[in-house]
């Protein structure tokens, strides 16, 4: 992929990561990336973290703090 890496903060959803980005665990080990574009969990509920598994939809995650709780 040419061009700079891009992260899209999806409304009420994950962070969509495109481009050349190194994914590491907090201890520095590389996290295996199975596809060019990945979605990173930001609701905290995914069972395949750091990747998204769609669970944000089950828990009514809201990315706008002012809307949190009224799912």
């Amino acid at each position: 992929m040419t061009g700079e890496a891009q992260i899209v903060a999806c409304i009420d959803g994950p962070l969509l990561v495109r481009g050349d980005v190194e994914l590491l665990s907090s201890t520095g080990e590389p996290v295996e990336r199975n596809r060019r574009t990945v979605a990173l969990c930001r609701c905290g509920v995914s069972m395949i973290k750091p990747f998204c598994d769609g669970s944000h939809k089950l828990v009514g995650f809201r990315s706008d703090p002012s809307e949190a709780g009224d799912s």
């Binding site: 899209v8 999806c10 409304i11 009420d12 959803g13 994950p14 969509l16 199975n34 596809r35 060019r36 574009t37 990945v38 979605a39 069972m47 395949i48 990747f51 998204c52 598994d53 769609g54 669970s55 939809k57 089950l58």
Partner: protein, 372 residues
């Protein structure tokens, strides 16, 4: 051949013993598919003979079809006709693909199929032709519900036999996964096209043929002791499941329906991650390993990516470029929810009642009946 007697298929009889092409692994379901399958065993040069009376027979069948979504003969016929474009469905003369009589038959069935879909599928209104507006409307439409579902049944209760039934039904589409949507790529532009290609590149393994989703599914079938050749289980698949597959082929092959493809595909991606986790759990519960569950596990992660791209960039991008397609995007989305919802409900109700959701093939001479 001058006879246009509609009560039998004289052409089929006349040539059946000197056929040039292999019979498919599935049988006909009525007069239209019977004559078509017989004609496809002969070269296009024999069309005058082998297709004698076919157009009339087809017109009658279409006129008589009050519920085309459950019409075995017409849905099988449409699957065979689309199969001429896909390949690997029926062994036949390659010239049939664009033979005018095949194209005419395909379009005649598709027009009535589309009309009945537009009549039956609940209309949903997407208010806003912007990427975020369309994505929000699609996520709202596909919001996971708490009720019983075939996927939950698979996770908790399905037997060895039932999980095989599920995989056989799914194989109609999944052995050709993503191909129907690929028809739409040259029919899209800009952001919507880039989004479709981004999704499809992942569907086709990102350059690794062994990671192609259809290939991973074929491995699941083999690991379950099933045949991964296309069409082996078609005889066991009810018309409604064929209709679900035919619908996306119709959307993909008609440029006019590119909005419906975008809405339909977004719904497929948005209703995939969570159910596929449940399906994988079902196979794990029965003791199966990665060879079987890889397909389902792959979709948990892949479709959590694809649903974001399909909602915002594909369907939303298309709505932004061509706002007049917004109604068709909503139609395609609602059609996917409705038709696949009915098909999944048929499966669940059969299982709950202790029946098989599979179709019992009829012998060739019997006339088709509606499976209400």
């Amino acid at each position: 051949m001058t006879s246009t007697d509609l009560s039998s298929s004289p052409a089929a009889e006349a040539v059946s013993d000197e056929s040039a092409y292999q019979a498919p692994p599935f049988g006909s379901r009525g007069p239209v598919s019977e004559q078509l399958l017989a004609a496809l065993r002969r070269p296009t040069e024999d069309a005058e003979l082998t297709l004698s009376g076919f157009a009339e027979r087809l017109e009658l069948a279409i006129d008589d079809s009050d519920d085309m979504l459950r019409d075995d003969d017409l849905q099988l016929t449409l699957l065979i006709l689309h199969g001429l474009h896909y390949g690997s469905v029926v062994d036949s003369d390659d010239e049939w693909e664009w033979h005018p009589r095949m194209v005419a038959a395909r379009v005649a069935i598709e027009r009535e199929f589309e009309a009945q879909l537009r009549e039956r599928v609940p209309s949903v209104h997407f208010p806003d032709p912007t990427p975020e507006g369309v994505a929000a409307a699609l996520f709202e439409l596909t919001k996971p519900g708490p009720g019983p579902s075939a996927a939950r049944f698979m996770a908790k209760k399905a037997t060895e036999e039932q999980v095989r039934e599920y995989v056989k039904l799914r194989s109609v589409y999944t052995l050709k996964e993503a191909d129907a949507q690929t028809w739409s790529i040259p029919r899209l532009n800009g952001r919507a096209k880039a989004a479709m290609v981004e999704i499809q590149a992942d569907e086709y393994g990102g350059g690794r043929p062994e990671r192609m989703h259809s290939t991973i599914f074929a491995r699941t079938m083999r690991a379950l002791g099933l045949d991964d050749a296309y069409g082996t289980y078609i005889d066991e698949v009810p018309a409604l499941t064929l209709a679900s597959f035919n619908m996306m082929g119709m959307f993909g092959l008609n440029r006019r329906l590119r909005g419906a493809t975008a809405g339909h595909y977004a719904v497929y991606e948005m209703t995939s991650s969570i159910p596929n986790r449940l399906l994988g759990d079902g196979f794990r519960r029965l003791g199966y390993g990665d060879e079987v569950t890889d397909y389902f596990d792959e979709h948990v992660e892949a479709d959590a990516v694809h649903e974001q791209i399909a909602g915002r960039d594909l369907a939303g991008g298309l709505a932004e470029q061509e706002p007049e397609l917004l109604a068709d995007i909503a139609f395609g989305a609602s059609a996917a929810m409705t038709v696949d919802g009915w098909a999944a409900d048929d499966v669940l109700q059969a299982w709950l009642a202790g029946r098989s959701p599979l179709r019992v093939p009829r012998t060739q001479s019997e006339s088709p009946e509606k499976s209400e």
